[in-house]
Symmetry: C2
Subunit: 238 residues, 2 copies
């Protein structure tokens, strides 16, 4: 019996793995900016915003800061970037709308089909650093057919802390080896494997744009390696 034969649930990293955050943000804010007469290098803006993601979570991971959801961290980063990029004339309502662009991210083209196939046989859910409200709204926006929304907020721990993976398995009343993490990031999978989960790598070679230099291939022998969610579904017998 292969290790993956024991799997009952597939949990997914979301930003970059399920949804194309960079293109979605660029397109959304370009349209928004045009409507408001606000000009910016929105590609640089998207990249800068994402660059502030790990440092913001590090404050919480380290215990220097009490539990804080990602919507709030995103908003603090946004306020820094509005100043850095010199964007003027944005109302509070505009800033709230911009911050919620993370709720309006589009799935990669194969995502909904692959998830739908996997859902016929497995529990499918999120295992994301996004907060529950963000992930719930993103799923409705993009038609993602999750069975369950799990992740940092339900674990009160940001990935890659072990508790993020362990608490997610526990909430499903499964042993870690009965849960597979699907992610486009080798580091996330390494942390999941250390916590005892099964692993599936899906390459997303343009997550970071045309000059992406990381996560272009599987860096270890993950249980599944595929180039789409449909490939994961096939590998898992769906």
């Amino acid at each position: 019996m292969a290790a993956k034969d024991d799997v009952q649930a597939l949990l997914f990293d979301v930003f970059g793995t399920v949804v194309d955050w960079r293109t979605s943000i660029i397109d959304d804010l370009t349209r928004f900016g045009a409507g408001k007469g606000v000009k910016a290098d929105w590609a640089q803006f998207a990249d800068d915003w994402r660059d502030l993601y790990q440092p913001a979570m590090d404050e919480v991971r380290s215990g220097r800061r009490p539990w804080t959801i990602l919507d709030v961290l995103h908003r603090e980063s946004l306020d820094k970037l509005i100043a850095r990029h010199g964007l003027a004339g944005l109302s509070e309502a505009d800033k709230v709308h911009i911050n919620k662009v993370w709720h309006r991210l589009k799935p990669w083209p194969d995502a909904v089909e692959g998830l739908t196939r996997l859902k016929s046989r497995y529990i499918i859910g999120t295992l994301s650093n996004g907060n529950v409200g963000l992930l719930t709204r993103m799923a409705k926006f993009g038609g993602l057919p999750w069975d369950v929304i799990l992740g940092a907020e339900t674990a009160l721990a940001y990935k890659p802390l072990p508790q993020a993976y362990l608490a997610s398995a526990e909430l499903l009343n499964l042993r870690p080896a009965q849960v597979m993490l699907v992610a486009a990031h080798n580091g996330d999978l390494a942390a999941a494997a250390n916590a005892g989960l099964r692993t599936a790598f899906v390459v997303r070679p343009t997550e970071h744009g045309p000059r992406q230099d990381r996560d272009l291939e599987a860096e270890r022998a993950w249980d599944v390696v595929a180039d789409s969610f449909v490939g994961v579904a096939k590998a898992m017998g769906c």
Copy 2:
């Protein structure tokens, strides 16, 4: 503007409101017992099991016992009832299977249609004392199209404690008044209303069988009163 116009999410009590636990358990265990040659008064067994539900949670609500999920409470009650009803010859695997009957409960006939209609406009989710794993499997069994699984386990508080309702709204980043609880139980709705939620009563006159003597009508002027989830959908503009 009516109070309900501000609602963004409808969260549902599950046992009795969404699913017909009593008929489901009687039918499931009657078949199981016939296959195993185990005879019992399964209707009485179902009622006795449900009667042990509130006392078991009271141990946790009171703080006399640390947080314990419903699957575990159900199993403890099951072991008591197996002795009380004199059921012999059940293996551990049989007991595990019987305990998971709570994962195999059938929706009331109007439930899936009403939820599907509501889902087009609102976030729909659970707000149940069932654990996340139980509710997730029940949804797959019955085709319940939840956006999100919330309740006692994500709040670490059993209804009707206020924290169960407040934490569920908080996880959706909503104010209590933006969340409506849908329930077949006046007491659950009263606790939700005290916590600031909106309320919808759906009468389920046979939840407790043909001689039901409680929750046969709305005991207060809840925001919505209906006799099915389709009625709730209509009242909410879906």
